[in-house]
């Protein structure tokens, strides 16, 4: 079983910070992992949820000091871990 502090990026709450720990490709239809990495979403990188949008629109995250928007179905494939308190 997955530890409770690991979940898809979409489950983060706003301003919550986490670490990227893995990718899964089951949900996605077209998952361009390389592209995500070009935008800085590499393994071990810190990521923060900046903003959500209406009707499950794309989310905005803070990665490496920049704002990166990602569609829900892609964000679901990014597994993050928050520090256990």
């Amino acid at each position: 079983m997955k530890p409770t502090n690991q979940f898809p990026l979409t489950k983060l709450s706003i301003n919550q910070t986490a670490k990227i720990i893995g990718y899964q490709t089951t949900h996605s239809e077209e998952f361009s992992l390389n592209r995500l990495k070009e935008y800085g979403l590499i393994l071990g990188e810190t990521i923060k949820l900046y903003q959500r949008s209406l009707f499950n629109g794309p989310i905005v995250t803070v990665v490496r000091g920049g704002l990166v928007s990602i569609r829900q179905h892609e964000a679901q494939n990014i597994l993050v871990q928050v520090d256990a308190k």
């Binding site: 239809e29 077209e30 998952f31 361009s32 390389n34 592209r35 995500l36 990495k37 070009e38 935008y39 800085g40 590499i42 393994l43 990188e45 900046y50 903003q51 959500r52 949008s53 209406l54 009707f55 499950n56 629109g57 794309p58 905005v60 490496r64 000091g65 920049g66 704002l67 990166v68 928007s69 990602i70 569609r71 179905h73 892609e74």
Partner: protein, 625 residues
């Protein structure tokens, strides 16, 4: 002597294009379109004092050299193409230096190309403002590149760069240390390398861009952000119409007085008719719309330069997804409200080829500025200037409806396409949102000046030519003595108009409209000049008009009001929403889709939709009016 070419490369929002504009000023070859640098632009840096002359090429912004979209491919191809003899090519990698941890990724990839490279740390002003400390010497050593700092938002800020360029000829950078960078062939390796370099060279205060964060609290708020977005778009269209009324009146009256002066200067006859009815009326009818076009481009530039355009794309993404597209399609479509040509070119940023095609298909459905002359003329003639519910102007409502019908048509077409021929899966939408910036007023005006020049050039060449041609066609051959109809009916244009009239009769179009539609297929706005010329020539020749001066003073609006019924006017409006009346659009579509297949499909389907909706409008209209 050896030439030197500078290739400006960088991520979108690195300020690269502003730098290009400041360096080359008006010495540019390709006009730039708002939204994105879609084609590589070239210009010349020239210093009279030192006689330094350099070619500068502005490449499309790119995140990586692993191209997915077409503009990235263009960039990569140009970077990798070997330099011809006697030309020194130097890559200037322009980066936003407030965000080196992201932007150096591209620089490391550029390092692997076997060309000399210079790192341009742009946005120096913001670095100082945010109290970021950068050890330039160390960065230069780590990356083994010369480093220049600039700030592209004002002239003073490029002093360093200019000094550097002046010294370039005696001091050409060399290709250094490519091998070490070839090993950094994954994003992970590159970002890890960047972290190592930056930890030694850069000190960033913990909170750096609070302002962007504060603004985004409103502009990216799920509900408030959407409302503000709608307000911004409404405000833009409102401004296009209300701000333009004074300058348009001014241009109109100037043209009218030029016409009068010429009428008085040149004796009655063919020359006077050619000058007044042909050239001044024809070109003037189009020139009037310059203010509206400039206001639209002003807003698009403002959205782009401030950093709002990316947010608008983000907000639109969810809605574009419903018709199988994505937020990136929004920017080309917004540009298409000014002109479909830059719009279609801007689709190069869309990575998925099917989404791109669908967006190209939608672009000419957006109400471009060339339709405005026709809309304004017809609305002015057929829609009463009354208030509805004591608040809204009926003419304004009709104008809004025409825009909305165009958008609706595009949405339906895109939806159908994405469900049929262009079926595809939901694509990815990864995009970087730039931080907010104050747009540079000087660059804004340079941009508007370039747009105005392009438009006036078109009016002075193409539209001038069509106006003269149309005057000839509607004046010659001259009717015989015993001809008792208007002389224009005997002319070539009149005959062609009468010949094709039956095709358009079910839409309520008379021979004059049919005549105007022909040159209108070349460019929409020509229709107005064509009608102006046809009516002017007709009136000037008609026997029943006693006072000739009186006839020229009657505005075109009044003439068409007398000549056509309301259903005809409405049907013509509907025709103009959908009809494929712009050769240049299809020429660009052919170029962008590499073949005639898509432009032909576009042309035929638009023609069918236009004919059908105009037919329906006319037939239903005759029941009511």
């Amino acid at each position: 002597m050896n030439h030197t070419t500078i290739l400006l490369a960088g991520t979108p929002n690195s300020g690269k294009s502003s730098l290009f504009n400041l360096l080359t000023k008006s010495r540019q070859k390709v006009a730039n379109f708002p939204g994105v640098t879609v084609e590589k632009r070239s210009g010349t840096y020239f210093n009279q004092k030192t006689n330094t002359k350099l070619e500068v090429i502005d490449l499309p912004g790119t995140y990586s050299l692993d191209p997915i979209s077409i503009d990235e491919q263009i960039c990569l191809d140009r970077l990798k193409s070997p330099a011809t003899n006697h030309i020194n090519e130097i890559i200037f990698a322009v980066v936003d230096s407030t965000n080196l941890e992201r932007t150096l990724n591209l620089v490391l990839q550029l390092k692997a190309i076997a060309k000399p490279i210079v790192l341009v740390l742009n946005m120096e002003d913001l670095v100082l403002k945010h109290n970021i400390k950068i050890d330039i010497k160390k960065i230069s050593r780590y990356l083994s590149v010369p480093v220049v700092t600039t700030s592209a938002i004002h002239k003073e800020g490029i002093k360093n760069l200019v000094t550097f360029l002046e010294k370039l000829k005696d001091n050409l950078p060399k290709v250094e240390d490519t091998n070490n960078f070839l090993e950094l062939n994954t994003s992970e390796l590159r970002f890890n390398f960047i972290d190592k370099v930056l930890s030694e060279c850069v000190k960033v205060p913990t909170q750096k861009d609070l302002l962007t964060h504060k603004i985004d609290k409103f502009l990216l708020h799920p509900i408030l952000g959407l409302l503000l977005f709608i307000l911004a778009i409404l405000f833009m269209f409102q401004a296009v119409f209300s701000w333009s009324s004074y300058p348009m009146d001014l241009i109109e009256s100037t043209i009218a007085s030029i016409g009068e002066i010429v009428t008085n200067l040149i004796p009655d006859g063919f020359l006077q008719s050619l000058m007044v009815d042909g050239i001044i009326t024809g070109v003037g009818a189009v020139l009037v719309f310059l203010p509206q076009i400039l206001i639209l481009f002003f807003f698009i530039y403002l959205f782009e330069a401030s950093g709002y355009m990316a947010r608008a794309a983000l907000i639109m993404d969810r809605f574009m997804m419903m018709i199988g597209l994505q937020g990136r399609s929004f920017v080309p479509l917004l540009s298409s409200f000014a002109c479909a040509i830059p719009g279609i070119m801007a689709t190069r940023t869309i990575r998925d080829s099917k989404e791109r095609l669908a967006t190209i298909f939608m672009s000419p459905f957006m109400t471009c500025s060339a339709r405005l002359p026709v809309y304004i003329l017809l609305i002015g003639a057929f829609i009463p200037n009354t208030k509805v519910l004591g608040l809204f102007n009926l003419q304004g409502i009709v104008m809004f409806l025409l825009f909305a019908i165009g958008v609706l048509g595009a949405v339906i077409v895109a939806f159908v396409l994405r469900k049929s021929t262009l079926k595809g899966r939901a694509s990815s939408f990864i995009m970087e949102l730039p931080s907010y910036k104050l747009p540079n007023i000087k660059l804004l005006f340079l941009h508007l000046y370039q747009r105005a020049l392009l438009f006036v050039k078109k009016a002075g060449t193409f539209i001038l030519f069509v106006s003269i041609a149309l005057w000839f066609l509607s004046t010659f051959p001259q009717p015989p003595e015993n001809w008792d109809e208007p002389a224009i009916n005997y002319s070539i244009a009149g005959r062609v108009g009468h010949f094709i009239e039956p095709v358009f009769r079910p839409l309520g179009f008379d021979w004059r409209i049919s005549t105007g539609l022909i040159p209108g297929f070349a460019a929409r706005e020509v229709m107005v000049s064509a009608l102006a010329t046809v009516f002017a020539v007709e009136a000037a020749d008609a026997n029943e008009v006693v006072d000739e001066e009186e006839s020229t003073r009657i505005a075109l609006t009044q003439k068409i009001q007398n000549a056509w019924t309301i259903p005809t006017g409405l049907a013509l409006l509907m025709w103009y929403v959908f009809a494929p009346q712009c050769l240049a659009t299809f020429a660009v579509a052919r170029k962008e889709t590499h073949g005639w297949k898509w432009p032909i499909i576009m042309f035929v389907s638009m023609l069918i939709i236009a004919y059908f909706t105009a037919f329906l409008t006319y037939q239903l209209g005759t029941l009511f009016f």
